[in-house]
């Protein structure tokens, strides 16, 4: 057996190798010769930090315990890379355009740069990842123990402590050399290069053990297949719900795990690398899983009962005396653990620093970033502190848990925890209606259910008592952690994942639907969901009053002075200026914010620039930009526009209706006033003369008779007026009953002339062409006669010629009869002609008994009969034309 010291030396040597690789990569990057370091191959290999010590050692143990189920761990990411590569591409595009630094930053940025959400995701990640880091420590410790002969118990904690310290130092040295986690500078290249190297080491190590097992221990492929058939592994029952759940969890973890997000999205150099990784990474996973079953079968066959199957990768070569191979295998496991810990610690420390430490520090300072202090050193210090803290947590957990639980179980629990981010993430990518409140509530509910049903019962060692597990809290059996709402008999993982993600998604959707996103959320939602449409133009700083000097001072506190000046030079260059002082245009502020968000996170960068620009909240211009971007708002406003158009249309109609009513009301008032006048005038005469007859003594007989005649005439005038009014109101209301009969026009005319002129002392001379009116008509003969009488009476009354004459001519024009009445008087003055058919129209001052309703009635009658009456221009005397259809139809 190798001594403990040899192992330490091997580890240190390996770490030295990593440092040399990193140093070389550094140099290459500095001299621009790092092109091949940014190849799709390196990107694909860097994704292999998915395979931690858990996968390296644990997969064999998993297979030895549960058969082929371990494959699900590899199938999940394979499904993502093949079946959801466009989703990953969207994440990468968003990551680039929004300068995303971590998964917490992504969720925060999507939901209106909410730091609360970022803190939530960070806390959840730390809680989920701490056992996972403990797991790596455990694997290193166990693998040390396999080689060393010393007292295992005392060695164990010491080994773990030194492993944790060493890894922390390693992560700090690697991960925080350069501040801007998203700048494509040396630091990142070194990490990615080192991770890629480790990917090769662990793959080759596992393949080497596998090849040794198949061709060294077994007798080649056929023999191996036989031994697999003979073992129990080939006959394991598969639990379909568990398979589906674990596959889903692995897929979710592949996207949501902070370290995966780091290498896949944050460190991605070129979207097109995904095309290669899409097929190459599944291939890598297939190679990693190729010899898992053979190693497990041989381990079970050859090693004594009770050997830890998690360590078969080491113990099988050792038991065959292949110490060199075992050492190589040990290095594979060691590299799996170190790469995972470094990247996870980097990712988590970025989150803790950007979303917890920096906001607290900024708010404690209160006076913004531009006054004094060196933000840059604070950021680096807080990141280093965070890495140390995370490693300390992992170590503490390792000590507290006693390292008892099987490796694979802890990995799955972490997967289930981190999968709670999935609804908010996927919802944020595809659903504009997702809101901050929804995401926060879903995350909280999912986290609580996960912690209660899985984390605490499985790893919480004593926080939940056996009584609670058995009977539920306070005896509420429907709240039992492994049988929520009374659903029993499920595998704990399946049960927890189903409930936590179901409740998480449900709460996320319900709260999102019932809350309204803020302007910034709306804007960011549009930017995320439609990232491919406007990733070139992320949100803008509008109308700024920032001083370039202030921005420069702030930027220098976040970045190195030279880097900051380079940035400003670039900004000035883009504006076509020389020097380092660009105009603080919206475009430049946006450029600067993106650059700064790579260092301190989107929310903090936004807040810092906001403080300098003098607007910590959203301006009207921003709101307008939101409105422009958001199709929902556009729809909403167009709906509002339609509504307001409809309202103004209604208002116009109401106004018109009101005007009409007013007009009608005025006409009615005028009419009543006229009627009043027409009634009061004869009444005045009647009253005056009747009082004179009553009160005057010795009234002469002639006066008496004259007064009585006046009273009689005026009474008749009143009667006529009332008759006319009634007639007109009946005609106007349209309720008149026409009595249609066949007759002869000539006869109707004869009768009318006789009636009109009877009783007149000096009748007008009526001239008619004999026979011209001999036309058969079908109409209301009485009403027609009324019209003729009225017109002839008017001529009799008003014709002022010495020998008054009225000529009546009749002509027929198809179905129409035209009758003209022309007298030889002075006629009606042209300006009064239009009014003669109005009610109470009166042309002459001499009121020979008429109330001025006659012609209005004539017009009403003729219109009822389908004809009309009009004044005939071009004659000296009074001239009226009556038009009438031969046949009146109702």
């Amino acid at each position: 057996m190798a001594s403990f010291n040899t192992l330490v030396l091997v580890c240190l040597g390996y770490v030295m190798l990593l440092f040399i690789v990193a140093f070389v990569a550094d140099r290459l990057a500095a001299t621009g010769g790092d092109r091949w370091l940014r190849s799709p191959l390196i990107y694909t290999l860097s994704l292999s930090i998915y395979c931690t010590a858990w996968t390296f050692y644990g997969a064999v143990g998993y297979a030895a315990r549960s058969g082929l189920e371990f494959v699900t761990i590899y199938l999940g990411p394979t499904l993502v890379m093949i079946g959801w590569w466009w989703g990953v591409r969207k994440l990468i595009r968003i990551g680039r355009s929004q300068r995303i630094t971590s998964i917490a930053d992504l969720i925060s940025a999507r939901y209106g740069k909410s730091n609360l959400l970022a803190v939530g995701v960070t806390v959840l990640s730390v809680i989920a990842i701490t056992p996972y880091i403990a797991l790596q420590l455990q694997s290193i410790t166990l693998s040390f123990a396999v080689f060393s002969d010393g007292d295992e118990l005392t060695n164990r904690d010491t080994t773990a402590f030194w492993a944790a310290s060493g890894l922390a130092a390693f992560a700090i040295l690697f991960g925080t050399r350069n501040l801007d986690a998203n700048e494509r500078h040396q630091g990142v290249v070194t990490v990615v290069t080192a991770v890629a190297l480790e990917a090769v080491v662990k793959l080759v190590a596992l393949l080497a053990v596998g090849i040794f097992v198949v061709w060294g221990v077994a007798g080649g492929v056929p023999d191996m297949l036989e031994r697999i058939d003979a073992s129990d592994i080939g006959r394991w029952q598969t639990d379909r719900s568990r398979w589906a759940t674990i596959m889903f969890l692995a897929a979710a973890a592949f996207i949501c795990l902070p370290r995966m997000f780091q290498v896949m999205v944050v460190e991605n150099d070129d979207e097109r690398h995904l095309q290669t990784a899409g097929w190459a990474f599944p291939l890598y996973l297939a190679a990693m899983s190729l010899f898992v079953v053979p190693i497990a079968v041989i381990g079970l066959d050859t090693l004594p009962e009770g050997s830890n199957p998690d360590l078969f990768v080491l113990t099988v070569p050792l038991s065959e005396g292949r110490e060199g191979l075992a050492m190589f295998s040990f290095l594979g496991g060691f590299s799996s653990a170190t790469s995972m810990v470094i990247v996870a610690a980097m990712a988590l420390s970025t989150m803790v620093s950007n979303h917890i430490v920096m906001p607290i520090w900024l708010s404690l300072r209160g006076d913004g970033a531009s006054v004094s202090g060196d933000v840059r050193s604070i950021v680096i210090f807080s990141r280093r502190l965070a890495i140390a803290g995370i490693m300390a947590l992992g170590y503490t957990y390792f000590r507290a848990s006693g390292g008892g639980a099987a490796l694979a179980a802890i990995g799955l629990i972490a997967f289930a925890g981190i999968a709670q981010v999935l609804p908010a993430l996927v919802g944020g990518l595809y659903w504009r209606g997702a809101t901050r409140s929804g995401a926060a509530a879903g995350l909280l509910v999912g986290f609580l259910v996960w912690a209660y049903t899985l984390l605490l019962p499985e790893t919480g060692s004593g926080i939940l008592t056996a009584g609670v597990l058995e009977h539920g809290p306070l005896g509420l059996s429907w709240l039992r952690p492994h049988a929520l709402f009374g659903i029993e008999g499920l595998d704990p993982i399946v049960h927890s994942v189903a409930w936590s993600l179901f409740l998480n998604t449900a709460v996320f959707c319900i709260i999102s639907v019932s809350t309204f996103p803020g302007p910034l959320e709306r804007l960011q939602g549009a930017q995320f969901v439609n990232v491919f449409e406007h990733s070139a133009a992320p949100k803008e700083w509008a109308g700024s009053y920032a001083q370039t000097e202030d921005l420069m001072i702030m930027t220098q506190r976040i970045m190195e002075a030279e880097q900051a000046r380079a940035l400003f030079r670039q900004g000035a260059g883009q504006q076509g200026q020389s020097g380092e002082m660009p105009e603080p245009t919206p475009a430049f502020l946006e450029f600067l914010e993106r650059a700064l968000s790579g260092s301190v996170g989107a929310a903090t960068a936004h807040a810092m620039i906001g403080q300098i620009v003098g607007r910590s909240s959203v301006s009207v211009e921003d709101l307008l930009a939101v409105a422009d971007e958001s199709a929902e708002l556009m729809e909403y406003s167009s709906r509002l526009g339609a509504q307001s158009a409809e309202l103004s249309r209604t208002a116009r109609q109401l106004r018109e209706a009101n005007e009409m009513l007013t007009q009608i009301s005025e006409q009615k008032d005028a009419f009543l006033s006229q009627v009043s006048h027409e009634l009061r005038t004869p009444m005045t005469s009647i009253r005056a003369f009747s009082e004179l007859m009553r009160d005057t003594e010795a009234l002469s007989e002639a006066d008496q008779k004259r007064f009585a005649n006046i009273i009689h005439d005026e009474a008749r005038r009143l009667t006529r007026l009332l008759d006319d009014l009634l007639d007109l109101s009946v005609l106007e209301s349209g309720k008149v009953n026409l009595n249609l009969n066949a007759g002869n026009l000539s006869e109707v005319m004869d009768q009318a002339v006789v009636t009109a002129l009877t009783g007149s002392s000096n009748p007008i001379q009526v001239l008619r062409e004999p026979g011209s009116a001999d036309i058969g008509i079908h109409t209301d003969l009485d009403r027609l006669s009324q019209v003729f009488i009225n017109i002839i009476s008017n001529a009799q009354k008003y014709c002022d010629a010495e020998t008054p004459e009225l000529s009546i001519t009749t002509s027929r024009n198809g179905e129409q009869i035209v009758i003209d009445f022309v007298d030889n008087g002075s006629g009606i003055p042209p300006e009064a002609r239009a009014a003669v058919f109005e009610k109470f129209a009166r042309v002459s001052a001499d009121k020979a008994g008429g109330a001025g309703l006659g012609l209005a009635i004539c017009r009403e009658i003729l219109q009822r009969l389908g004809g009309d009456v009009s004044y005939l221009d071009g004659h000296e005397g009074g001239a009226f034309r009556v038009q009438l259809p031969l046949n009146t139809n109702l």
């Binding site: 006048h677 009061r680 005045t684 005469s685 005056a688 004179l692 005026e714 001052a845």
Partner: protein, 126 residues
Amino acid sequence: MNRHVLLVEDEPNIVEAIRFLLTREGWTVDCHTDGTDAVETVQALRPDLLILDLMLPGKSGLDILRELRGISDFEHLPVLMLTARGQSRDRDMAERAGVSRFMTKPFSNIEVLTAVRDLVALAGRA
């Protein structure tokens, strides 16, 4: 006491009634039926009292009254206005135009005589 009244009214029977009434009281009654030249007639005849119908052909009683009040000689001429329209607005407008007494048709003979006596008494005191 020979008083002179001018009656501007287009309804012949009402003219007849008022003329009979006031003649018996000792008035000299002149009549005019058209609104158009009523102001000129007043200027020519210079009556002690004017009885004016509101609705006249040619020119309304209100316009005639306004014109007369604009002529210094007739600023204080007693004017009794008659109307057959029963609208309060007419009374308001007539009062603003400076009418001395406003009366709505039909009226009793006593009312006319009382109004005429009152107006004369007031004018005598002035």
